[in-house]
């Protein structure tokens, strides 16, 4: 069975990159236009990387891999993010 988790499980890797909790950020899917908080998306995580997908249409919104000390972050599946950050 595939290892499908909630977007919340990707919070760790995302917070290595972004200096805030990305799971509370709203992301609009370029595939179907649905907007969800990232914590409510579907996260597939294994040794090669993390893929966060739209729960409605399975489009990959966020893909992250970490190779040789560098993060590769592909967000072509995101139309727009809405980020509320309070100091």
């Amino acid at each position: 069975m595939e290892n499908k988790l909630d977007g919340n499980a990707a919070a760790g890797i995302l917070q290595e990159i972004f200096p805030f909790d990305m799971t509370l950020v709203q992301a609009t899917c370029i595939g179907c236009g649905t907007t969800n908080v990232i914590g409510a998306l579907a996260a597939y995580m294994h040794g090669m990387g993390t893929v966060v997908r739209c729960p409605s249409c399975d489009t990959a919104l966020i893909r992250v891999a970490q190779t040789k000390g560098r993060y590769w972050l592909d967000m072509r599946g995101v139309r727009v993010l809405q980020i509320s950050v309070e100091a």
Partner: protein, 203 residues
């Protein structure tokens, strides 16, 4: 970095391997068959399944499941090597060689992009999928390939890291110019030779 921190008494579950020479550098022997999935498992019904060769070809060609099973088949036993460091020896597959499939089209191309249900892609030089180096396989250890391992059919290119053996493969697109696939565009090596430890971009 952990700055030299060691967890007292931790060794991990890797097995020391006696199979020197059969395991590429940096790999360990795995007796199970880990499932790494980057998305939901497709469940394409066989009646809807086909395998196509498209792109820089005179005529695109495709085979239905039944037609695919009229082609000459081979049994293949090989080692497989995952970039996450596990290697599995003596895996047994059955399927159709890419030599057989590509012989049925006229083409002029340098690269193939394998594409799968669910959107996965991986790229290979055409010369590395010819001459007995690649198959479309539908049987593993004598049984129909399970969906979690890429069934009904996956690509098998055992001389490269296993991410190149695209699960749920539905065809090849032949191209003149290379196009990095799903992992190749995310920091993994464009080629992926385990014996040269070509794991990551720039290796």
């Amino acid at each position: 970095m952990s700055e030299g921190f060691i967890s007292r008494g931790f060794r991990g579950r890797r097995q020391k391997s006696d199979e020197s020479g059969r395991i590429p550098p940096g790999q360990y022997l795995e007796r199970g068959f880990p499932v790494l999935s980057a998305g939901p498992t497709p469940h394409t019904p066989l009646a809807a399944w086909d395998f196509s060769i498209v792109g820089e070809v005179d005529q695109p060609k495709s085979w239905s499941w039944d037609e695919f099973h009229t082609l000459p088949r081979e049994k293949v036993t090989r080692e497989i090597h995952c970039v996450t460091k596990w290697s599995k020896l003596d895996t047994h597959w059955e399927g159709v060689s890419l030599d057989t499939l590509l012989a049925q089209v006229k083409y002029d191309a340098s690269y193939v992009i394998a594409f799968s249900d669910g959107g996965y892609t991986t790229n290979l030089p055409l010369e590395e999928v010819l001459n007995g180096q690649a198959w479309v396989v539908d049987t593993y250890e004598g049984q129909p390939l399970e969906p979690q391992h890429g069934g009904p059919a996956r690509l098998l290119v055992p001389h490269l890291y296993f991410w190149k053996s695209a699960k749920w493969v539905r065809g090849l697109r032949l191209v003149d110019d290379d196009e990095p696939g799903f992992w190749e565009s995310l920091g993994y090596n464009n080629h992926g030779d385990p014996w040269k430890e070509e794991r990551y971009w720039g290796d």
